[in-house]
Subunit: 492 residues, 2 copies
């Protein structure tokens, strides 16, 4: 099954980077056939029987305790996959796929009209299917319907756990954002250097950046695409990105983000690469690694000191916009804006809070689709102080819900908080890391992440992993302290 | 199964073009797992039962006769694959794989020493397994052991059929080669233009060449690799090649060869692309398409008239070596040489005759491996008039046998003869084709090949296909006439 999954990963990478356009139709059939085959293998009666027998055997296994733990972790992951895959019958899976496909098409039309009304009906149909599916999963998994959706991306996460950390964010962020913006009034954020920045130079710098952070090019590649991603497999990680000749930061910091994902994949335990326990832990842990590199490290003074002079030289840049202090302020500008993917580190979580609350309300049946646009705009006004003037600036901006992706949004902000907490623990755990960063040496940081996060694979739960790496469960106070330090105190 | 096969084709393409070196180990496991899965699907009891039921149903099928023929052709192909796949038990397949892998490694060492003795023992072991496998196949297929091997690449081919055409070649080629070489004595073949020829320019010319011959870049790509090949799938054909900066003809005529393969794949019936009947017919038919483009067309005066001026301009070349007449004579030089892959159109078949005779003798048990080097050298001396001075120039030069590939060599020359016969039929069948070639317009030729060969897929047997396209079975006289016309009479 891992081999099938890996083959699918390469088919997807190829499709997004090099595949000629005319092959789209057959490629879709090829991928669907392989996905169907993997699903068939996982849900076969024989798989269930073998799993049960293995679980019975593991309960009385007489071996090295570490090996027993590994076997049990593997079985836990297989059981999890098996349970999730066997819950839904084929009819519902197909109905969901059809509803999502129909809704996604209507969503594109709705965006043209900037009006949610255009997509409301297919959205209602899709939501009904998603709720049906979530309900079926919830009754088997013994959790709430929304938790059942969340669990697909974030194993073990609960509504109570999300409430605990998100309510703290919601409690301090609105005022904090006002405070940051007020402090900067009269001292407006400077602009970034102006281009053009040739793509070929950006690509070379991206390559250098990856190499310097520890990306192993014997086990991965960098290519071009339309929508940046990190794909492939742990032993062959494929980053693909795009370059904007007017703004090199979008390409280079995009690559930095994907490099965080890639380093995690390359650091997964090599010996377990075909086993469930050898896979990455969860979306929030994955996103914590990308955001640790992009935001915690990449937007820091030490990082800019290490890279900015080389970038300036490569582009032949000059002027005050290239001063590290000025560049850093431009990079860390804070603005209230409507679009999540363009948001800065401070306002981004607000976009996630809005989506999480509305999504939960819709799954619970407390919010009707017809009321979504108004509820969205109200929440944006309440939490961020700005009100979208049309649905394209509001509830139509993200593809996720319209494509059937529910329970996913919280992982972005769980990842951001986890990144802060892991980076903080790394710096405090080994003074060589901070010293290294000051010298532009990123190896001590990677070595620490390898041991604390990457090499653990899926052997621990998300909470155990975080506790072992940082000494405590997810604590929004660390993220809050990071924001205060960078955006109010100007320490980072 | 086709989807799995297509996925494997892309994994192989990726491996040969872009895959980072460190991924070789996991990629081997991924490919092996997919191959194992495809084999399991094909040989499942259920597949046999379904096939039998379908065959029974097809016998009384009440439908459009063309549809009935298509169904029956499909079932014939599935039956063929099923029979071949179920003959050998797993133990023998694995023993073969191990023997081949061991022998291939020893072969590399033997090449270093230029001595067959180094590889003799593993070669004997491998030959024993190949004979065992061929015998098992022969008893089920009702043919001779060597035919069973040949049949894997060339369905329906027989020893008698090979004898008929190869003995004719053996009858005229030795004298013909002497005649050609004698005629040219005192008028030595000129050299090709001298480089360097920048790779980037070669790549652009290769792209132009493919486009002009009708390669559809919406359904394929051109990339770089170490060992040129044509891979991918019919709807996404991937050509990969290498460029030699000292000799641009190796790259461009290599691409021309692969373009012949590619045009065949792109021309297979689109609606049947996931069905057995929609696949290419056999190795000799495939090779006939590549050699038709590379040798029949590519080495002709009309082709050089169409392309040489552009190539000269692109490389900024000058001097007599760029005159079409001179260039054509250099391209069509004839030399007695030891190495098959460096041989010209006239001497190449002799290399195949030698291998075919020796291979049949070894499979029949009439030639012991210990006697192979001497027998090889004797045959080369008898048929080509030159005697290798060591085994690297002799029986160690090709990987095929040492890697377990038996029954394959004849297809090269069957392909060359078929190419001559198909090209001849095309020119005679539609005067617009020759007129087109004279104007540098290759569309009429491709249109004819599409109808006569490509769109037939595997709906006909090799012999039926050739008979429908050219009016007769394989006839070496056409190839002979082609050689005479090009190399003695100077007409082409």
């Amino acid at each position: 099954m891992t081999a099938l999954g890996n083959a699918l990963a390469f088919l997807h990478w190829d499709q997004a980077t090099l595949m000629p356009s005319g092959a789209a139709g057959t490629r879709a059939l090829e991928s669907a056939a392989l996905e169907g085959l993997a699903h068939e293998m996982l849900t076969a009666t024989e798989t269930g029987d073998l799993l049960e027998a293995a679980e019975a055997e593991a309960r009385t296994l007489d071996a090295d305790p570490r090996e027993v733990a590994l076997v049990q972790a593997n079985l836990r992951e297989v059981r999890r996959q098996y349970t999730r895959a066997t819950i839904l019958d084929r009819d519902l899976v197909e109905a969901l796929a059809v509803a999502a496909s129909t809704c996604e098409t209507a969503w594109r039309a709705a965006r043209e009209e900037r009006s949610f009304a255009v997509v409301r009906e297919p959205f209602e149909t899709l939501l009904a299917r998603v709720r049906e599916s979530a309900g079926a999963q919830a009754s088997v998994l013994g959790c709430s319907p929304w938790e059942a959706l969340l669990d697909a991306f974030e194993p073990g996460a609960t509504e109570a756990g999300i409430d605990r950390v998100f309510s703290e964010l919601e409690g301090f962020l609105p005022d904090f954002i006002s405070e940051v913006i007020e402090q900067r009034t009269g001292n407006p954020d400077p602009g970034l250097p102006e281009g053009p920045f040739p793509e070929a130079i950006q690509e070379r710098l991206a390559h250098d950046l990856m190499e310097r952070l520890g990306f192993d090019f014997r086990h991965g590649r960098l290519d071009r695409t339309i929508h940046p991603f990190c794909g492939g497999t742990p032993r062959d990680v494929r980053i693909a990105t795009r370059y904007n000749e007017a703004d090199f930061t979008s390409g280079l910091f995009g690559v930095l983000h994907e490099t965080g994902h890639a380093l995690y994949e390359q650091g997964l335990p090599e010996a377990l690469v075909f086993q469930p326990v050898g896979q990455s832990r969860s979306m929030s842990i994955h996103e914590s690694q990308s955001l640790l590199y992009e935001m915690q490290l990449g937007h820091s003074r030490a990082f800019l000191a290490a890279f900015l002079p080389g970038w300036r030289e490569a582009f032949g840049g000059s002027g005050p916009a290239w001063e590290p202090e000025t560049f850093g302020r431009a990079l860390n500008a804070v603005r209230r804006s409507f679009i999540r993917v363009e948001a800065d580190e401070v306002t981004y979580p607000v976009h996630v809070l809005v989506r999480t609350r509305l999504e939960r309300a819709m799954i619970a049946g407390d919010l009707r689709p017809a009321d979504l646009p108004g509820a969205w705009n109200d929440d944006m006004e309440r939490l961020l102080g700005i009100r979208p003037s049309n649905d394209l600036e509001g509830c139509l901006q993200d593809i996720h819900w319209y494509d059937g992706l529910w329970g996913y949004f919280p992982t972005y902000t769980l990842g951001a908080m986890t990144a802060a907490q892991v980076f903080d623990a790394a710096l405090k755990g080994d003074p060589a890391i901070g010293d290294g960063l000051d010298r532009g040496d990123f190896r001590p940081l990677l070595a620490w992440l390898r041991t604390a996060i990457h090499e653990k694979g899926s052997s621990l739960s998300v909470e155990e992993l975080l506790r072992e790496a940082t000494g405590r469960p997810l604590d929004p106070a660390v993220f809050r302290a990071h924001l205060r330090s960078r955006y109010l105190d100007g320490d980072r």
